[in-house]
Amino acid sequence: MWNYIGRRILATLPVLLIVAVLVFLMLRLTPGDPAAVIAGDAATAQDVAEIRGKLGLDRPVVTQFFIWIGRGLQGDFGESFFYKKTVASLIADRIEPTLALATLTIILATLIAVPLGTLAAYRQGSWIDRIVMGISVIGFSVPVFVIGYVLIYVFALHLGWFPVQGYQRMADGFGGFLHRLILPSITLAVVYVALLARMTRTSVIEVLNEDYVRTARAKGLPNLKVLVFHALRNAAVPIVTVIGIGIAVLIGGVVVTESVYNIPGLGRLTVDAVLARDYPTVQAVILLFSFAYVLINLAIDLMYTVLDPRIRY
């Protein structure tokens, strides 16, 4: 098992390296002088020269990459040109809302999707199954921001149950924090529910055809017990895998949801930084999101070795 864990971690390193190279090259491959691009339209020739020296742009590209990633690994992504702060402190300021939103979304989506998917699998072919699958197709198709605005329209503007937009830090009161986070999380959870319910249904159907499920039924266990303890437990691995893969969808959704609900998180930061052409920030945030995605999936993979003793490598 340790051998596998070691190999799996080693296999992740090239992916991380390639992500870093791609994010690095994005800025270098733009036509024109990157220093001039970074400096912006209002920069003087002196500014540009200064930036060029600071970023080591006069050195070979390979050296530049290692300077950038070396500093990045120490948490130094340079200074934001728009916010006039270090990128690291900017990210530290914005990370709480994003983490809170993502966590609540995953919890919410799992609580809704897993029972729905299991029910659909249990009643395969029935109207419940068709409704769940129908909802899932719709969930894939409705754009996040349309869901967001419809929810705001109904629950904030008409019913007045929730504030329209905004965010409250956890330190300023948990109640208000949660209250403001509910609509955004529901918005973001829709795609996730669609993805997860489908996968749950597929894997539970597969398990329900196994011999041990038939045995469990034959010995007279109640259906609910069979579903939860035999079917769902054995279907857990593919379900958890999809939760991990879905994080890519989640990150994309975070960017949009934070813009719709005016939440000062990393997603909003990305959009604002792109609009302000604040390249050091854009690079750092994209790198951070991608690394988080890869590492979460690595962690999930490694978890299997502990969770599911049947898996041998």
Partner: protein, 308 residues
């Protein structure tokens, strides 16, 4: 067990092109509803100048922020008074939302179809060679893994922001995140086909690599790629709308559904119609394409439908 029954079992794997495919497609409700809706939306886009006589970019300061059903009167060239009804209201520049939504169908479909074709063709070429040439496989697949690790929206936003917003850059930026998914699919098919006896036979008689790929491997990829292209088309339309909505997509004066919604964002609390009408069209379009894709997958590629 003899070899004969196992061959019979394997035979239905490739189903596209067989007689009966059209018949099965016509009997699939998902395909029917999806195709019907997509056709309607495509017709709307094509017939946009017929459906509305107004210029989608025409600004009218006196008609700003009107709700749906608002009537304006204009004088035509001969001085006669014509009453026009703004079916879906107007935006904060007085542009007619209905007209912009109708023209927006064009942009969405052009982007969706171009991205689908572009990413499938490029992904197919890369995937064929990566799957077939072992020395290339490792490098290419690691790069694809890296590309896939960057969330699609972020990658697209970054690409557009770096190269400046235009229809072309948006299409390229939306297509690039889709390419690795096509490559993976094609490669997986190639890896399984490569071991087939008929490919081995072709190689043994000295068929050039290109010809083996073209004659023996490529046909096997068509059915799954049609399915994949449909889903890419749907997600490209969504992604384009998201980019426009965030303000990093096609230039704001172009009538796209995302742009109409982006324009309506600031006044959403007072005038929700700016977002709700184009949002409904966008949702219906993507839903139709996804239904079509689901149906195509079930009929053309039964192996894939088992996976998810």
């Amino acid at each position: 067990m003899s070899a004969v029954p196992s061959m019979i079992v394997e035979a239905p794997a490739v189903t596209a092109g067989k007689p009966g495919v059209w018949l099965r497609l016509a009997h699939n409700p998902s395909v029917l509803i999806g195709a019907l809706l997509v056709t309607l939306i495509a017709l709307t886009g094509i017939a946009a100048p017929l459906l509305s006589s107004i210029d989608p970019g025409a600004i009218n300061p006196s008609n700003r922020n009107k709700t749906s059903g608002y009537e304006t009167s204009v004088r035509d060239d001969e001085g006669r008074k014509i009453t026009r009804k703004a079916l879906m209201g107007t935006d904060s520049l007085g542009r007619d939302i209905y007209t912009r939504v109708v023209y927006g169908a064009r942009v969405s479909l052009i982007v969706g179809i171009t991205v689908a074709v572009f990413s499938v063709v490029i992904g197919l070429v890369i995937g064929l060679f990566a799957g077939y040439l072992r020395w290339l496989d490792g490098i290419v697949m690691r790069i694809m893994d890296g590309l896939m690790a960057i969330p699609a929206i972020l990658l697209a936003i970054a690409l557009v922001s770096l190269s400046g917003a235009s229809m072309m850059t948006v299409i390229v930026a939306v297509a690039i995140p889709e390419i690795p998914r096509v490559v993976r699919l094609v490669r997986a098919i190639v890896l399984s086909i490569r071991e087939e006896p008929y490919v081995e036979a072709a190689i043994s008689v000295g068929t050039p690599t290109i010809k083996v790929l073209w004659r023996h491997v490529l046909p096997n990829t068509i059915a799954p790629l049609i399915v994949q292209a449909t889903f890419i088309c749907g997600s490209a339309i969504l992604l384009e709308a998201i980019l426009s909505f965030l303000g990093v997509g096609i230039p704001p004066e172009t009538p796209t559904w995302g742009n109409i919604m982006a324009e309506g964002r600031s006044l959403f609390q007072v005038y929700p119609h700016n977002i709700l009408y184009p949002g409904t069209f966008l949702t219906l379009t993507v839903l139709a394409i996804n239904m079509l894709g689901d149906g195509l997958r079930d009929t053309l590629d039964p192996r894939m439908s088992k996976r998810l």
